[in-house]
Amino acid sequence: MRLSPAVVLPALAVVLAALVLYPFVGTGYGVRAMLQIFMWIALAGSWNLISGLTGYVSFGHVAFFGAGAYTGAILVASAGWSWPVAALAGGIAAALLALFIGYPCLRLKGPYFAIAMLGLNEVLRALVSYFEGLTGGGNGLSLPTLDATRAIYYVMGVLAVAVTAMTYAIITSRFGLRLMTIREDEIAAEAMGIDTFHHKLAAFLLSAVGPGIAGALTARDQGYIEPLSVFPLAITVTMIVMVLFGGKGTVWGPVLGAAALFVIQEIVWARYPYVHPLLFGAIIVAVVLLMPRGVLGLLQLKYRLPRTI
């Protein structure tokens, strides 16, 4: 099967146009659901940038979401910033946090990075609860009321498109090739003269910005945040499952995974909330053992799709 730009680009344009017009025709629930799908595409796509491309597993990406949420919320609630600017600040705060973690941990090979990310979430939650004066502690933080769901829908949509476009740009660039070389064989990558540390760090910083912005937007949209609502392990798990299911290291895998799992989750699994994590755990195990390249990897193999998809 050949996918020529003459087919793909108009199709993409139609989908985008439909998404732009959707808030004018859709129900409140529908718009909210689409907003969530955009958020998950941005989150899954960001996780894919570090873990799918370089093979360094981040077990704590929700930390960037939470850091962005608190930065955005504090700036809006206490400093009176407008929410779009606060959202950008959330992205920058997340990138700074990534620099702090990535600098010591990404210089090393092996599992150090994964474990450091595993603990980060708990640490941020403890810190946020401790500095009550700034964050409201366990009582949470309320934002001034504002009905901006439609505006946030568009901004979150732009974020999802931006993360996906960035993934495409990276995968088709020399930078992306170097990242994938690190994933396949880091020692060989070094021998070829790739500055592996700075490449990994750059990928990691880029992967933190999206969740930071998404966190700040979510905080604005919901109007209230507390430590447990923006630092749950479940968000990290969902991101990972979406990328693995769709196909890690691909452009459209995270999009496919986010949309598919969100829909399945809403329709089927919402009835069985108690075994939700068990299902996700089982999906992770099954994908790792049976189809490590995800659904898109299988399709690529079967229909000879281009690798840049």
Partner: protein
């Protein structure tokens, strides 16, 4: 916040640090063994510890058994669970890229926690078998913590003796030094992997069983133990088994110091900053990395 530090307080910190350090060392030794032998970081190590804690809780609450006597039972039960996990799932990713083994054990870990939440509920459970403390020269020595410390020392000592003196222990150490050479020497590496995973799970379960006597337990208690065990082996030097002892004691002391000068709320933050600092300054661990 200014604190007046008396010699008694320092003594208290040192004693409490050593008491919890032995437990850290015991649990971390399990993680270190799996990492040394298979090059796999077992994210499910903490949840296995949690299962061990529940074995003790249920044996105590249903049969009234002395909780300290349940430690070997919890270890035996989780030895079997560990062997089964290795036999069915983990062995498939031993030679795969690190990403696969990390994700696989992460998947196992969230599944185990969820199973525990459904079977045992998320309620906090406690084994109130022994409470109170002895006073030794102005320093309070918590009774359950002291007995747990003695058990942890005994189990860790036995594990080291096993690794050092028995043929099986030597085979495990040989496999962790070089799998190829071990194979050539006629060691059944697949079987060693299985035993190692079982032994490591048993060490985690022992830690969980002892913890159940000290603190309240719940299904999500394990996550932080995976992290702390890893911190202990980073402190001691990955692949350096005696280093786990030193790392455990050090982590125990640092945490107690932190709770003296800061607040117990931030003890995990302190542990985390410690990890980042060690990785920054001396990533091969305080005793140096694996000896090859």
């Amino acid at each position: 916040m200014s604190v007046v530090v008396t010699p008694e307080m320092i003594g208290q910190v040192v004693i409490s640090g050593i008491l919890s350090g032995a437990l850290y060392a015991m649990v971390a030794l399990g993680l270190a063994l799996i990492f040394g032998v298979m090059r796999v970081i077992n994210i499910a190590h903490g949840p296995l510890l949690m299962l061990g804690a529940y074995v003790t809780f249920f044996l105590y609450s249903r049969t009234g058994m002395n909780p300290f006597l349940t430690v070997p039972l919890a270890m035996a039960a989780l030895f079997v669970v560990g062997v089964l996990l290795q036999r069915t799932l983990v062995f498939r990713v031993v030679d795969a890229p690190e990403l696969s083994s990390l994700l696989l054990t992460f998947g196992i870990s969230i599944a185990l926690v969820n199973v525990a939440q459904n079977l045992f509920t998320s309620d906090l459970r406690a084994v109130e078998y022994i409470t109170g403390s002895w006073s030794v020269g102005g320093v309070a020595l918590s009774k359950p913590r002291f007995i747990a410390f003695v058990f942890a020392l005994a189990v860790t000592g036995a594990a080291f003796l096993f690794l050092k003196t028995t043929r099986l222990g030597k085979a495990i150490r040989a496999t962790s030094q070089s799998r190829e050479v071990a194979l050539v020497c006629g060691i059944d590496v697949g079987r060693i992997h299985m035993l190692t995973f079982g032994l490591a799970s048993a060490l985690a379960a022992g830690g969980g069983a002892l913890l159940a006597v000290i603190v309240a337990i719940q299904p999500e208690m394990g996550g932080v133990w995976t992290f702390k065990s890893f911190l202990v082996i980073v402190l001691g030097g990955a692949g350096n088994y005696p280093g786990a002892l030193l790392g455990g004691l050090l982590l125990g002391l640092v945490e107690q110091l932190a709770s003296l000068f800061l607040t117990t709320q931030l003890s995990e933050v302190v542990a985390y900053v410690l990890l980042v600092l060690v990785l920054l300054v001396r990533p091969t661990g305080l005793l140096g990395g694996r000896q090859t």
